[in-house]
């Protein structure tokens, strides 16, 4: 027969109460009140792409975050503080003065204060892209043989797409990361292909992801309109490239998302770039 003294029983009871009562406490308030910083700076351009917003529930398919328009946002360059101003109701902030310029090699600090939490981040403005050249100056689109039936039109479109490759090339001896954006200079749409063909081509949409190479190919024929196009190659930093990393995780070791922002989520990064142009014209 087990003989337990009153003192032993009391000790066991106390230990049980202590353990059972200590349920999960969330002592880390930063994890619960996190906000998101989405701040991009471009060399030679005004500071107007700084955005602060909330997170939103995991079960939502659409972004239902709430813009934060009342944060204190300061950009610091060479020890000098530049107070940013809210741009409206969308959570964007900009600098209103004329005494701040974003230049190659600048080391910039961002400080955001909201809800009692101070978030900080640092980035460096990379060197501009050098030696950007395109494989063509203009892309000629042939007349579609509308009078020869559907098969002939489909074949002509396929032939045009296969021959519409445009290569952008730049100097990258050190294997840095670059990113390319192709966009129409004009807002006016002059459709290259019939609407039905454009819809069918949606899956061929060119999306450039960060590359450590020195060229990117894309199909000019998948562009929507005749006209002049700007091809801009951005020299990017690691914190921006990290946003494209594999985003599958499991609960055994759930990692913090890629972020160079301390005490908050998101990214603060700077870009430098070079631009080249090409035309899409009728043959």
């Amino acid at each position: 027969m087990i003989d337990l003294s009153k003192r032993t029983l009391l000790a066991i009871a106390c230990m049980c109460m202590m353990l059972v009562s200590c349920e999960e406490e969330n002592l880390n308030n930063i994890a619960e009140n996190q906000y998101v910083v989405e701040a991009f700076l471009y060399a030679g351009e005004p500071v107007d792409d700084v955005r602060i917003k909330t997170t939103f529930p995991l079960a939502e398919a659409e972004d239902i975050s709430t813009p934060i328009n009342t944060a204190q946002v300061v950009l610091i360059k060479d020890g000098q503080q530049y107070q940013l101003t809210s741009s409206g109701n969308e959570g964007y902030y900009h600098y209103t003065g004329t005494d701040l310029s974003i230049e190659t090699g600048d080391v910039l600090d961002l400080e955001v204060v909201h809800n009692g939490i101070t978030a900080t981040a640092t980035t460096i403005v990379p060197t501009p892209t050098e030696g950007l050249r395109l494989s063509i100056d203009s892309l000629k689109v042939p007349q579609l043989p509308f009078s020869e039936g559907r098969d002939a039109i489909v074949e002509a479109i396929g032939e045009f797409l296969r021959n519409s490759s445009v290569e952008a090339r730049w100097n990258n001896p050190s294997g840095d990361l670059y990113f390319m954006v192709v966009e129409a200079v004009s807002d006016t749409i002059d459709p290259i292909l019939p609407a039905a063909a454009i819809e069918a081509l949606a899956r061929f949409r060119f999306v450039s992801e960060p590359t450590g190479g020195e060229s990117i190919n894309f199909l000019g024929g998948t562009l929507e309109s005749f006209g002049t196009y700007s091809t801009r190659v951005y020299h990017i930093n690691d914190e921006y490239a990290a946003l494209y990393e594999n985003r599958n995780q499991d609960s055994r070791d759930l990692n913090e998302p890629p972020s160079n922002v301390q005490n908050a989520l998101g990214v603060f990064s700077a870009f430098n770039s070079q631009e080249a142009f090409f035309e899409v014209v009728r043959e």
Partner: protein
């Protein structure tokens, strides 16, 4: 200076019967394990991954006669801690894409569901031609409890897809053990 601490509190009980046709034991462990690092989780204390508040195990074996033997095992354990996504956010990228990311909740502040299962087995032992044959039929996780090992998240989907990775369900086994 880096400071690391693991705080462990446990109490364990064991009751065992070793003699006779019926043998077995019952055990219970009450535990709390917490970690604290200067440079992690903003210096706050959090539950260790192997922190299980309650663990109860019981093993029973009964020899009906020299040939037949029955056994059963049951275990129950509190869910292990894990870090749960607290929410999500999206970033507008320069290529026009809008990528989703998670905001990670407090470190190891959530718990997986409790783990429990029962295994049963029956053995028939036969002495034939100088050999001992042991025929066994057992059922692992006999009531097919869907115990969760971990959760997998795919944040490339909207909303992020959550997949529960489970331990083995009800599984029958046949065995033959020959001794000579």
């Amino acid at each position: 200076m880096l400071s690391i601490a693991e705080k462990l509190l446990t109490a364990a009980f064991l009751l065992q019967k070793k003699r006779g046709n019926y043998t077995g034991w019952v055990s219970y462990t009450l535990a709390r394990v917490r970690n604290q690092y200067d440079a992690f989780n903003n210096g706050f204390e959090f539950s260790a991954l192997h922190d299980q508040r309650h663990e109860f195990k019981t093993v029973h074996s009964y020899e009906i006669d020299t040939n037949w033997k029955l056994s059963a095992t049951f275990m129950y354990a509190s869910g292990k801690p894990f870090t749960e996504p607290a929410g999500q956010y999206s970033i507008d990228l320069l290529d026009g894409e809008n990528n989703s990311y998670i905001s990670v909740g407090a470190k190891n502040a959530s718990r997986l569901p409790t783990y429990h299962r029962m295994d049963v087995a029956v053995h028939y032992v036969l002495d034939y031609a100088g050999y001992d044959f042991d025929f066994g039929l057992s059922f692992f996780n006999v009531y097919d409890r869907k115990n969760i090992w971990y959760r997998e998240y795919n944040f490339a989907e909207k909303p992020p897809a959550v997949t529960e990775i489970r331990y083995l369900g009800a599984t029958p086994n046949l065995s033959l053990d020959v001794r000579f």
